[in-house]
């Protein structure tokens, strides 16, 4: 058995991967670890230098001039070098608006969830609650601007509101205020009604958090309502499980009873493609989340692994060894119209589509021995190699099409340290940055829909578990704790 087929099988058994990608454009170039990150762009240094100006100036600007009053044109003048800072956001606990005894529990769930959602968003600098002025803020009349926009809270934004249970109904009113703008502070005002349960409170908190993130995050929808899917062996078999983005609500989805790997949720969230060991070998199976059962999908023969949805949901790419050598194939989402797009000796696995254009595919090829990451047009032309050394697997393309995140053992082989870590690469420049450093094997990264987060599996805590982090490698958090959980995949919205 040659080298390349050995790793291929290793991976197949272990769990193949790749994932889809989503967008991550945040401060990628943060200089992480001098030893591991030889190249960083000047971007960040520069930003730091000019950070002094403060985001404040951001807006420098002004307007202007438009001397022709009839145009009534609105102008914004602003520039770079003004420092990019996270928005300071204060979130006092919501106030109870009714006397119902159920308020206490529901309020706690709501407040905790909302705080976590905003804290996890990656675009806010949450003001510590110990800085808040005394007294709850339940409605706009309660807002004392001076006590919020000056020290100690010195916040730019204030989210507040009230929540009340009456009978079986839950009513939530929430506001987002720009407290530095006393004359027209309101950015957002929302009212929600739902059932008076903890789950509903959690959902409502997610919705409100997403509204805030959508406004202040530049029109990118928040991820608080997104889901993730992964492989868990908790039930004795490796089955596909699902959970909320924050690790809540973990539940089994499939009950195939064999070994199921590499779940990939469809862009519209209706179907889940995964590979599973069947009587005839490894095949792609399709599970409908609408029908809650497996639906028909062709069996191609050979070993079929790691399906990948195109962004429009009309195509699936996957690797198949139906002709002997493992190659990348593209089929319609129904499984028809199968086309082979690679034809090289050596294994080709783990495809992932360019989520922005849908016109390129990145995948892992073992044509030169150890697996490396390549890109090509969706028709198989214009093959480019991205990684130049080590053992690189599990590519996932970012939602904005700019980055690939993947797992890499940069120095592979006897005598090499061989840590397996998550790396992110800017495809155009081929500059990369190491995101994880904490030991263990880190693999199977997948992008969040907003491109600001990455979910991955790591063995740093002992067994294989699911972790998330921001796309710059910060804020790493463990989401699963029981059993063995691997191969996470984040929903598309």
């Amino acid at each position: 058995m040659d080298h390349s087929s050995r790793w291929e099988i290793e991976r197949a058994q272990q769990d193949i991967s790749n994932l889809c990608s989503r967008d991550g454009r945040r401060s990628l170039y943060r200089e992480v670890n001098a030893g591991n990150c030889k190249r960083t762009t000047g971007t960040h240094h520069h930003t730091l230098k000019f950070g002094v100006f403060g985001r404040a100036v951001l807006a420098l600007l002004a307007a202007v001039l438009v001397a022709i009053p009839s145009l009534a044109q609105d102008w914004i003048r602003t520039g770079t070098g003004l420092g990019v800072e996270k928005v300071r956001l204060a979130l006092p606990d919501f106030k109870a608006s009714t006397q119902d005894p159920k308020n206490t529990d529901v309020l706690k769930v709501f407040n905790d969830t909302l705080w976590n959602d905003l804290d996890n968003a990656g675009i806010f600098d949450m003001v510590s609650k110990s800085f808040y002025p005394l007294g709850l803020v339940g409605s706009p009349a309660d807002v004392k601007f001076e006590s919020w926009n000056g020290p100690p809270p010195n916040t730019a934004m204030l989210a507040f509101g009230n929540l009340g249970v009456s009978g079986d109904n839950l009513t939530v009113q929430g506001w987002l205020y720009d407290v530095k703008n006393v004359t027209s502070p309101q950015v957002l005002g929302k009212q929600y009604q739902d059932a008076a349960t903890s789950d509903a409170a959690r959902t409502t908190a997610h919705k409100f958090a997403d509204e805030i993130i959508f406004r202040l995050g530049g029109g990118i929808p928040g991820i608080a309502e997104s889901k993730t899917y992964f492989v868990s062996s908790r039930s004795g078999h490796k089955e596909i499980w699902g959970m909320d983005y924050d690790g809540a609500n973990q539940h089994a989805i499939t009950h195939v009873g064999s070994i199921s790997l590499s779940p990939r949720i469809a862009p519209d969230g209706s179907r889940l493609a995964f590979s599973s060991a069947t009587k005839t070998g490894w095949e792609i199976l399709m599970y409908s989340l609408d029908l809650n059962r497996l639906v028909a999908f062709p069996r191609y023969g050979g070993t079929n692994l790691s399906p990948a949805w195109s962004a429009d949901g009309t195509k699936l790419a996957f690797s198949s060894s139906r002709t002997g050598d493992s190659e990348i194939y593209v089929a319609d989402s129904s499984g028809g119209n199968l086309k082979r797009v690679t034809a090289f000796k050596g294994p080709d696995v783990s495809p992932t589509w360019n989520r922005k254009t849908g016109a390129q595919i990145a995948w892992v090829s073992g044509r030169t021995g150890l697996p490396q990451i390549y890109t090509m047009e969706a028709d198989g032309t214009n093959v480019q190699r991205l990684t130049d050394e080590g053992y690189a697997v599990s590519p996932a393309w970012s939602p904005n099409g700019q980055f690939l995140v993947f797992s890499w053992i940069r120095h592979y082989g006897p005598g090499a340290p061989g840590a397996q870590d998550i790396y992110i690469m800017d495809i155009a420049s081929k500059q990369w940055v190491q995101l994880t450093h904490d030991g263990g094997r880190n693999d199977f990264p997948s992008w969040s829909p907003d491109g600001r987060h990455i979910i991955f599996q790591s063995s740093r805590s002992g067994g294989e578990q699911i972790w998330t982090m921001l796309a710059d490698g910060t804020n790493q958090k463990q989401l699963t704790f029981t059993g063995s959980n691997t191969q996470p995949n984040w929903s598309w919205k």
């Binding site: 454009r25 000047g42 002094v52 807006a59 202007v64 438009v66 914004i76 003048r77 027209s184 406004r215």
Partner: protein, 264 residues
């Protein structure tokens, strides 16, 4: 009694001295007034109004690395830079007029044509007027709203808005910040020629449509470095959306002038 008599005497002397003193005060006061009227001619009272003027320049300059001050003053006084660029356009129209005049019989036709051209140019010349208005900019009345001036991290900056209904920046300062943050994030400096260590500021203008998409991306003032100009344009083009404009904003677009400072 003697004391009384002395006082009388003194009284006369005082009158004398008082007269001198008064005259002197008048002269000094007059001098000050005269000086102030003469000296204040170029400044415009508006500049001193509120903290706006102070905030704009001083701290920024102090925090800037050596070369920056010039640029910065331009920033701060966005109007000022306009003034400069406007002053250049002005001479051009003048030159054309002489050319037109020489033409003999076509005068009648040429004149009408010139007038339209003048009107076309107006957008630029008008800024000149605005340059005068620059002073009002300092008025700060509307400008000195909460976001007329920022301070954060020890740095300060200001912005102002004029024009009919052009209060977008004051009402929706949070949106302005979103734009600023997003463009900065999407500017990839490695796209700039690696040999360039420092360059003039490049000014880009673009519109943000109602649904938040950037449109009409133009280089307003080139940096003289093509790759820098290009990277700035790409930074804007790379952005799909800034998020829809605030729902209670009545306009259907906002124009943005964004500058990029490059320094390696």
């Amino acid at each position: 009694m003697a004391a009384n008599a002395e006082i009388f005497f003194e009284h006369d002397r005082w009158g004398h001295n008082l007269a001198w003193s008064l005259a002197l005060h008048v002269v000094v006061t007059g001098g000050i007034l005269l000086y102030s009227t003469i000296a204040s001619g170029g400044r415009g009272e508006g500049w001193g109004a509120g903290g706006g003027g102070d905030a704009i320049g001083v701290t920024l300059v102090s925090t800037v690395p050596l070369p920056a001050p010039q640029v910065q003053t331009q920033n701060v006084l966005a109007n000022e830079s306009k003034g400069l660029s406007q002053s250049q356009p002005q001479p051009k129209p003048e030159e054309k007029e002489p050319e037109a005049i020489p033409i003999p019989e076509k005068d009648a036709k040429s004149k009408p044509k010139k007038e339209p051209s003048a009107s076309k140019r107006k957008p630029q010349p008008e800024p000149v007027e605005e340059a005068n208005n620059v002073v009002p900019f300092g008025q700060g009345g509307p400008v000195s709203g909460p976001y007329g001036m920022f301070s954060a991290g020890g740095a300060k900056g200001g912005f102002g808005f004029t024009g009919g209904g052009g209060d977008f920046g004051t009402r929706y300062a949070w949106y302005v910040q979103v734009v600023q943050r997003k463009v900065s994030e999407n500017w990839l400096k490695y796209e700039v020629d690696a040999r360039i260590r420092e360059a003039q500021r490049v000014y880009i203008t673009f519109d943000v449509t109602r649904d938040g998409r950037p449109a009409n991306v133009l280089v307003e003032q080139s940096s003289g470095v093509p790759s820098l100009d290009q990277s700035a344009i790409r930074a804007i083009q790379r952005i799909d959306t800034f998020g829809p404009l605030p729902s209670d904003y009545s306009g259907n677009k906002v124009s943005v002038e964004f500058w990029f400072d490059y320094k390696r």
